[in-house]
C-alpha cells in the first residue's frame, strides 16, 4: 500500500549486475557506467561546480572500481554506492569548500508531472529559485530525496549522518523555503 518499493531499493537486478561486474564481466561494468554516468555527473556538479574535476573524479572512481573489483563488498543499490563514493572522492579532491551553485533556469522535466498552467510553472520556477538559495547542505538533501529518489536511510549513508539528522535537515529546509515563499 505505502510507497515501500522505493525505486532505488530492492533491486535484485542491481545485485546481479554488481556480482557480474565483480566477477570481471566488462559488459556489466559498462552497463553500470551507462546507467549512472548522467545522474552521477549531475550530483557531482552540484557538489563541486567544476566540470573537469567532476569528470576526473568519475573516471578515477570507475577505474578504481574495476581495479579493486575483487575486494568490493556486496551492494543492493549500485546508484547508492556510486553516489557515496563520488561524494567522498570529490571532497578529497576539492579541498576547497564547495560553493552553492545557482542552477540554470531551464527545467528538464523528469516525467509527466502534469504541470499545465502558467501559474504552476511560475510557482515551480520560483520554488526552484528559492531552493537554489538554500544552504548547500539543505539543497543536497532535497536533491537526494526528491530528485535522485534515495530513501532516508540511503541519504544518511551517503552523507554519513544519522537518519534523524537527515529528516531534520529537510524539515529545516522546508521552514526556510516557506519563509521566503509568497
Amino acid at each position: 500500500m505505502a510507497g515501500s518499493e522505493n525505486i532505488n531499493q530492492v533491486t535484485i537486478a542491481d545485485h546481479e549486475l554488481w556480482t557480474a561486474f565483480k566477477q570481471g564481466n566488462v559488459q556489466a561494468f559498462s552497463e553500470m557506467y551507462r546507467l549512472h554516468a548522467g545522474t552521477l555527473y549531475n550530483y557531482g556538479y552540484h557538489l563541486v561546480p567544476d566540470a573537469a574535476l567532476v569528470k576526473d573524479a568519475m573516471q578515477d572512481l570507475f577505474a578504481d572500481l574495476w581495479r579493486t573489483r575483487n575486494n568490493l563488498s556486496d551492494t543492493n543499490s549500485i546508484k547508492y554506492y556510486l553516489f557515496r563514493s563520488l561524494r567522498r572522492r570529490l571532497y578529497r579532491l576539492a579541498d576547497i569548500k564547495p560553493v552553492p551553485v545557482i542552477s540554470p533556469l531551464q527545467t528538464e522535466s523528469i516525467e509527466d508531472l502534469k504541470i499545465r498552467t502558467e501559474e504552476d510553472l511560475l510557482q515551480l520556477q520560483r520554488l526552484q529559485y528559492l531552493m537554489s538559495q538554500l544552504p548547500e547542505r539543505h539543497q543536497e538533501v532535497i536533491r537526494l530525496r526528491f530528485y535522485d529518489n534515495f530513501s532516508w536511510e540511503e541519504i544518511a549513508g551517503i552523507l554519513q549522518i544519522n537518519e534523524q539528522s537527515v529528516r531534520n535537515l529537510v524539515q529545516r529546509a522546508i521552514v526556510k523555503l516557506r519563509e521566503n515563499w509568497k
Partner: protein, 363 residues
C-alpha cells in the same frame, strides 16, 4: 494517522505522500485525507508544489560525447600497462576475431534454416491450451520493424525476428491475450472491459490502454518493458498472477529470468530515452502544414532522422490526422500522400519523393 497535526514539512517527509505526488500511488488514501482534513489542504498543496519542484530541479547534463570519451578513458585504465602484455592481448584479438567469425558463420547457417519457434514462446502457447481457438501468428522476417494491426484496433511494431500470436476474433468476442518473443512496441486501444495481456517469456504485462516497449528474446537473461504513456501492471508467470510492479510513464521493469526478480527503474531523461517519450505531447493533426514542419515534428517526437530532399518538397503541404497511428504507419501514410518511396532503417528514414502533385498538395 492523525494528519491534523501535520505541517507542510511533515507531508514533504511522508514517504507515502511523496509516492502519491510523484507516482500517483495510494491515491484513494490521500483523497480521503484531503476530504477528512480540509484545514490541511493548503499545507498539502504547498508540500506537493515543493516535491514537484525538487523532483524537476534543473540538471547539469553530461553530453553523450563526453560520456563516451570518459568511458574510453576508463577503459584505457582497464588494460594492463606493460607493452608486452598489450601486444599479447592484441594477438588475442585475432583469436577473438576468428572465434567471432565462426560464430557468425554458424549463426548464419543456422539462420538460413526456417526459424523454429523459440522454446519458451511455444511452451507458453501450449500451456495456455489454445487448441481449437483461432489464432494468428505474425513473424517479422524482414530487416526493419514491421507494424501489425490487431483485431481490437491496437497496433504492434515488431522488431526484426520478433514473433507474436494473437486471437483472430475482435476483442468483444474473445480475450486480448498476446504472446510475444523478441522486441516490440505496443500501442494498445483502450477497453476497460477486456484487459490486454502480453505474455513475454516469464513476464506477464497487464495493460490498461497505453504504449510501451517490450524486449523478450528467448536467449536473453532479462525481459524488459518500458512504458511510454499510460500505466501497466507487471506480474511474473511462474510466481502466479500477483502484480509485482505497477509502472507508469517513463518507468521500466526489468525481469531477471534466472531469479524471477523484477526491478523497477526510473528512466533517466537525458540518456537515450528521448525516443517516443514526448510523442504524447506532440500534435499529429496537420492541416495544410508545410512538409518540413511535419517532418520536424515527427523527428522530434520519435527521435528519428528523416532524410529527404528539402528543396524538392519546400512548397508541399500536408493535411492529415495521424495522432493514433504508430510511427511506421505515420511514415507510410505520409509517403503515400507524397507518392514517395520510403525506407525505414532503425532511426533513419529516407524518403524519395518526386515533388508534389498539384491535386494532392497545392501551395
Amino acid at each position: 494517522m492523525d494528519y491534523s497535526v501535520y505541517d507542510t514539512a511533515d507531508f514533504v517527509c511522508d514517504d507515502s505522500f511523496v509516492a502519491w505526488v510523484k507516482e500517483g500511488r495510494d491515491e484513494a488514501h490521500w483523497k480521503e485525507v484531503i476530504a477528512r482534513y480540509p484545514a490541511q489542504r493548503e499545507a498539502m498543496l504547498q508540500a506537493r508544489a515543493i516535491i514537484l519542484a525538487a523532483a524537476q530541479l534543473p540538471a547539469f547534463q553530461l553530453k553523450e560525447k563526453e560520456q563516451q570519451l570518459m568511458w574510453e578513458n576508463i577503459q584505457g585504465t582497464m588494460e594492463p600497462a606493460e607493452k608486452t602484455v598489450v601486444k599479447l592481448s592484441r594477438n588475442y584479438y585475432w583469436y577473438w576475431a576468428a572465434a567471432l567469425l565462426c560464430i557468425v558463420a554458424g549463426a548464419t547457417i543456422w539462420w538460413m534454416r526456417p526459424a523454429p519457434a523459440p522454446a519458451m514462446y511455444s511452451r507458453l502457447l501450449q500451456e495456455a491450451k489454445l487448441e481449437g481457438k483461432k489464432r494468428i501468428e505474425e513473424i517479422n522476417e524482414e530487416k526493419h520493424p514491421r507494424t501489425i494491426s490487431l483485431p481490437d484496433g491496437s497496433s504492434v511494431v515488431l522488431q526484426p525476428g520478433a514473433r507474436i500470436s494473437f486471437p483472430a476474433c475482435p476483442d468483444h468476442k474473445c480475450s486480448r491475450e498476446v504472446y510475444l518473443s523478441g522486441a516490440a512496441f505496443f500501442e494498445v486501444s483502450r477497453n476497460t472491459m477486456q484487459p490486454f495481456i502480453v505474455y513475454a517469456n516469464e513476464m506477464v504485462i497487464n495493460v490498461l490502454g497505453t504504449s510501451f516497449n517490450v524486449k523478450a528474446y528467448e536467449q536473453d537473461s532479462l525481459v524488459e518493458v518500458h512504458v511510454r504513456t499510460g500505466k501497466i501492471a507487471v506480474s511474473v508467470k511462474p510466481l502466479g498472477n500477483k502484480v509485482v510492479a505497477n509502472l507508469s510513464a517513463n518507468q521500466q521493469a526489468v525481469l531477471t529470468r534466472s531469479t524471477l526478480a523484477v526491478a523497477v527503474l526510473q528512466t533517466i531523461p537525458q540518456v537515450n530515452t528521448r525516443k517516443m517519450d514526448e510523442a504524447v505531447v506532440y500534435s499529429f493533426e496537420f492541416s495544410d502544414t508545410p512538409v518540413d514542419s511535419v517532418m520536424t515534428t515527427i523527428e522530434n517526437a520519435y527521435g528519428v532522422h528523416i532524410n529527404y530532399d528539402q528543396a524538392l518538397l519546400a512548397d508541399c503541404r500536408l493535411t492529415a490526422s495521424l495522432t493514433d497511428e504508430p510511427l511506421i504507419e505515420k511514415i507510410r501514410l505520409i509517403c503515400k500522400a507524397l507518392e514517395a518511396g520510403c525506407i525505414i532503417e532503425g532511426d533513419e528514414i529516407t524518403l524519395t519523393a518526386k515533388g508534389c502533385r498539384p491535386n494532392v498538395i497545392e501551395n
